[in-house]
Amino acid sequence: MAARRPSGGLLTACCIAAGLVLLPLGVTVWNAADAGGQVAAALLWRPLTGFLLFNTLRLIACAVISTGLIGTGLAWAVERTDLKGKRGWSVLAVVPLAIPPFITSYAWVSLSPGLENFWGALLVVTVAYYPLVYLPVAAALREMDPALEETARSLGLDRANMFFRIILPQLRPALLGGVLLVALDVLVEFGAFALLRYRTFTTAIYGAFRAGFSGAEPALLSMILLLLCIACLTAEFFVRGGARYGRLARGARRRAASYPLGRWQWPAQAALFTWAALTIGVPVGMILYWLGQPGDVATAPVAATFGAVVSAAWTSVSLGAAGAAVTMVLALPLGVLAARYQGWLVTALERAAYLAQSIPGIVVALALVSLTVHALRPLYESTPLLVAAYSVLFLPLALVSVRAALTQAQPALEEAGKSLGLGRMAVLLRVSLPLAAPGLGAAAALVFISVTTELTATLLLAPIGTQTLATQIWADTSTLAFAGAAPYAAAMAAMSMAASWLLAGKFGAASVFAPVRPA
């Protein structure tokens, strides 16, 4: 295997994909460097930067704690106790993943404007992102070898000690990986915070873009955000790649130990019910409530007629389809390369693609605007540019699934095809792709969902007159016209939840989650 060399065509395709990902990064660095030392110092060394750092880091620190506690607690209750109705609770626990954070934010801010502060932001972030901790921790708890716990108990450890000395250390990789993903998502989130009027780097970059279009200031703020993101992604990479608590014996598996809740059964049920009400009840309930309210023309920038909602939904779906198609075209060669070949170039190209996960949507969009407004003018404010932005943003998401699917398709079958006289292309089209088809379908569906719920890049790059569900929700909610936004929000939430439901039913809950894990 190692001796085989990738063809020139494959390498070229991979270089194009990786280059596309690196392009916004390069443009941002260029724009920031263009400002010059003095201007940069004046723009960065002011109270606002410190304020944003404090706001952003404080939120991340608290969100890491809150999602860590809640995600772990929930996973423990569902996986390791005799909780009644486990199956139902385990489904409800991951439903919030299918609700875009800015829809959750819309629901909460329309419930009470008093949430326009740090605590509101923390609430929304916790409610929206705790599944990122719950899923890996639940999986780790499920897979844990009961022998360790039995030994510990036989040596006289009580329950509390057992948890902190035996279970928690084993959970560490899953828990840390989960909370770092939460941190990364908090860093790149824009819509949820903009609606809550909570200022972080993303909202400040958007503000700077509004005030000065593509000047030095947004690029400089982007650089700080990028550094924070890359730090998170690097930490996540080491946590996942490093510590691992494997079973020594891979033989017959025993179920992980289960602990009786006893008199805590009903308090636990009540807590889970409350949590489901907060995470699913409030978003769905508020949308339904506002659907029943008359939309006031005075306050709604975007009137919600049936035709307008259908037309916006259709635009979102079209963009989703185009985005998924282009992303898959870019991800396929990279997936083939990563699954079938080895070497430093292979690793470098794959890592470059994964780097996109640390580039926030607002930075990608801003870089593409400043690149096309002067050079590459025909692409300015065009649909192809918007689709290119989507494929940069969601390439890592697709690549994880594509690579996994191709790895599972046995190379032996490809070699059989080759020995029967098929060329490289024919082997790919007639053997590899059909074998990997379900996984590729899942990847395309994931990208499709992500594009239809994407707000930031859409807001900055959508051609004049293009109205998607996301832009319409934004137009109404940013002026507090909640009733006007409700039909659009309902359409988006329904689409996202239905698509996620189909995907999870076919490939398991983890397929919706798809954590990025560089090989």
């Binding site: 002011r46 509004r210 005075a298 689709v387 004049i464």
Partner: protein
């Protein structure tokens, strides 16, 4: 792939096709619902299709600056005159038809005739009636920088409407006094993202008073109903700078390839029909500038106001105001 490719082609066609038809492109920094109502009537009457790109005033102005000579925009319609003045200084605007200019009092349009005044708004102090009594409200906007107002004020320095107010203070009081005033506000005020948030904050009792345009109070009143709103509007009098009038205006871009249609749209904006529609609707809460047209019934009659006597051209282009706000650490 076999399914995706045609879908992609169809999607590209649909999304780009709509943008390529011969239409008037408006870069809009007015409220979307206002422009939506106006363009609907305009298209119905003239048959000219309109597409709208909406954003905040300073955002759109700098976008047009960056796009330069081949901006896709035909018309720029905005809430505040300084953005129009900025584009005029850069030589990007075409002269407005004299007959159109003649429809509104000359002092509300550009002295060189390159942009048109359409509507006016008044700066006011919004106050929560159960938190503070009207008799204790300040005589001047400048008083809000004093220590006795700490914790009681809400402002939105990043809203496009705040910039002209700062420009006016710079013009009348000078830069050092303006900076001292802004520093005072920074200590005293709670910062909100936009005027919508400020009126909402005053209504729910977050802060006792808020610096906003009269538009936002009237809109909240219309939205919530008179029984539910716990706030009212206080007018600065005797020509105090706090009662500054902001002008909503429009201009035709020099680079526009649809000059005739663009001029037609500007003429429509100040036509009797459009101005009456704006005054009567529950969509806009600004003063129509055409003589004899009544504003929304929630607004105090224009003749009763006692605004400062600072002209729109003296207000300038916002650049100093933005720099000063940055210096004070408010944006």
């Amino acid at each position: 792939m076999k399914v995706w490719l045609p879908t992609m082609v169809v999607a590209f066609g649909l999304v780009t096709g709509a943008a390529q038809a011969q239409t008037l492109t408006i870069y809009n920094a007015q409220h979307e619902q206002v422009v939506g109502m106006l363009t609907a009537i305009f298209t119905k009457e003239t048959g000219i299709k309109v597409q709208v790109h909406t954003g905040e005033g300073p955002d759109i102005a700098s976008q047009i600056l960056q796009e330069g000579g081949d901006s896709p925009a035909d018309v720029f319609f905005t809430e505040n005159s300084p953005e129009l003045i900025l584009l005029d200084e850069k030589g990007l605007l075409a002269p407005v038809d004299p007959t159109t200019l003649a429809k509104v009092p000359g002092k509300y349009s550009a002295a060189d005739g390159d942009w048109l005044g359409v509507l006016a708004r008044e700066n006011v102090l919004d106050f929560n009636v159960s938190m503070i009594s009207e008799s204790t409200l300040p005589a001047s906007l400048m008083d809000l920088g004093k220590p006795e107002w700490v914790g009681k004020i809400g402002i939105a320095p990043s809203d496009a409407d705040f910039l002209p107010l700062v420009s006016a203070v710079i013009q009348t009081e000078g830069k050092p006094a303006a900076l001292a005033w802004l520093n005072g506000l920074k200590t005293n005020a709670k910062i909100y993202e936009d005027d919508e948030s400020v009126v909402a904050a005053v209504a729910r009792g977050d802060v006792a008073v808020g610096v906003v345009n009269n538009y936002y109070w009237a809109r909240l009143e219309t939205d919530l109903g008179p029984q539910k709103i716990d706030s009212a509007v206080y007018h600065f009098k005797h020509g105090d700078i706090g009662g500054l009038i902001n002008i909503s205006g429009a201009a035709v871009l020099k680079s526009s390839k649809n000059q005739a249609a663009a001029q037609k749209f500007l003429a429509f904006l100040v036509s009797h029909e459009a101005q009456v529609a704006l005054g009567q609707s529950d969509v806009d809460f600004e003063y129509p500038l055409a003589p004899g047209v009544a504003p929304n019934k929630l607004l105090t009659p224009f003749a009763v106001l006692q605004p400062p006597s600072i002209s729109v051209s003296k207000l300038g282009d916002d650049q100093d105001a933005g720099a000063l706000l940055q210096q004070a650490g408010l944006i």
